[in-house]
Point group: C2
Chain length 243, copies 2
Amino acid sequence: MEPSPVVVLVRPQLAENIGAVARAMGNGGLFHLRLVAPRDGWPQPRAWITGSGAHRILDAAQVFDSVGDAVADLHRVFATCPRPRHIIKPVLTARGGAAEVVAIGQRGLRCGVLFGPERTGLDNEDIACADSLIRYDLNPDFMSLNLAQAVMVFGYEWWLARAPEQPARELQVNETMPATKGELDNFMTHLIAACDERGFLRNEQKRPGMVRNLRHFFQRGEVTRQELNTLHGVVTELGRGRK
Amino acid sequence: MEPSPVVVLVRPQLAENIGAVARAMGNGGLFHLRLVAPRDGWPQPRAWITGSGAHRILDAAQVFDSVGDAVADLHRVFATCPRPRHIIKPVLTARGGAAEVVAIGQRGLRCGVLFGPERTGLDNEDIACADSLIRYDLNPDFMSLNLAQAVMVFGYEWWLARAPEQPARELQVNETMPATKGELDNFMTHLIAACDERGFLRNEQKRPGMVRNLRHFFQRGEVTRQELNTLHGVVTELGRGRK
């Protein structure tokens, strides 16, 4: 068994949604799907259509009669998107919940995450089978969250919690490299010479400020060698003037 | 105009997906929807069905012939989930992109986020209209991401980037309060007295360890006053023995 948590759909109504859940699970790297009393029985061919390639997850889905049976072999159970009034339980964000699931998995223990029926969500009996609640931080004025979207948000956070952190911003340079300051300086020399040749920088008073502005512009974002080569070509060609 | 970024669906194919996108936008607090050349024309009643209450967003959706027209009044444009080979551009994570969108909005500037057609994604011409790319960190072995799921992940991150940070874990206590150590101690005294009365802790050698174990257990998670009251009742009742 892979160390990914079990997604438990409690009394899901629409087979299309079960398929969409499987697809979202694939996106997030979650592979273990359990269904508690699916309304229309199981299997339902429509799920494989909306599953859009997540066949492996749907083929391996297990069906149970009750939440208790579905979580009997698990060590820790989380209930998502709860709307309970009078329950005393730890409440986690999606991010916090995903981090706990990862940490528990690293101890070799098995987790499950409960998702309720489309219309009503989990009831109080379902939630009594869980150790903690996971409550998403989303627009409180529009809480109608599609079942597959609920699984997507958890799967996304679960993937992020395990993945090595990506830089929030980086320059994709492909087959080229960012230019060095010296390479940029070569280009500036070329550009300024071409401007001088055409008389564009002839106002001696304004000249230093204009040159500085050009330097600032070309250093606003990282520039790559390939881009500098193209810019050299543009300056050379424009410098020749009209034929 | 609210300071939320514009969601631009480029050549969307299925009206059901446009509706599901609007629903996901509502969840994430995004309200401005633009459609570039929707395949089946616009409006399409099926979108209002899958929109599941996001009527306001769909009613206000604007249609454009080209990506250039759709972004003409925006200051910064992001392209999501790109699959380009030879493009030199900044690449952001969903989280990093959401943070930039928020920061740009705080300067009073307008942002747009491009989402491509279901089957093919954005093409190179579309991407040339964007300043930066947003690439989601998800399972690379299953990249088939539903259009509404793509919008959901961005909307979720956008909401989080603006919302005051939630504690990753907290105890939901409702109408009660976590117990103080003194209240817990009262209960432990009650419990141990009841155990002593029944002779449960009679082994003097094991007694200190057993009492310590009980203390540890009742401090494993936060206990509330209401729970302690119930536990006092249980101990009193069990201590009376069978009738």
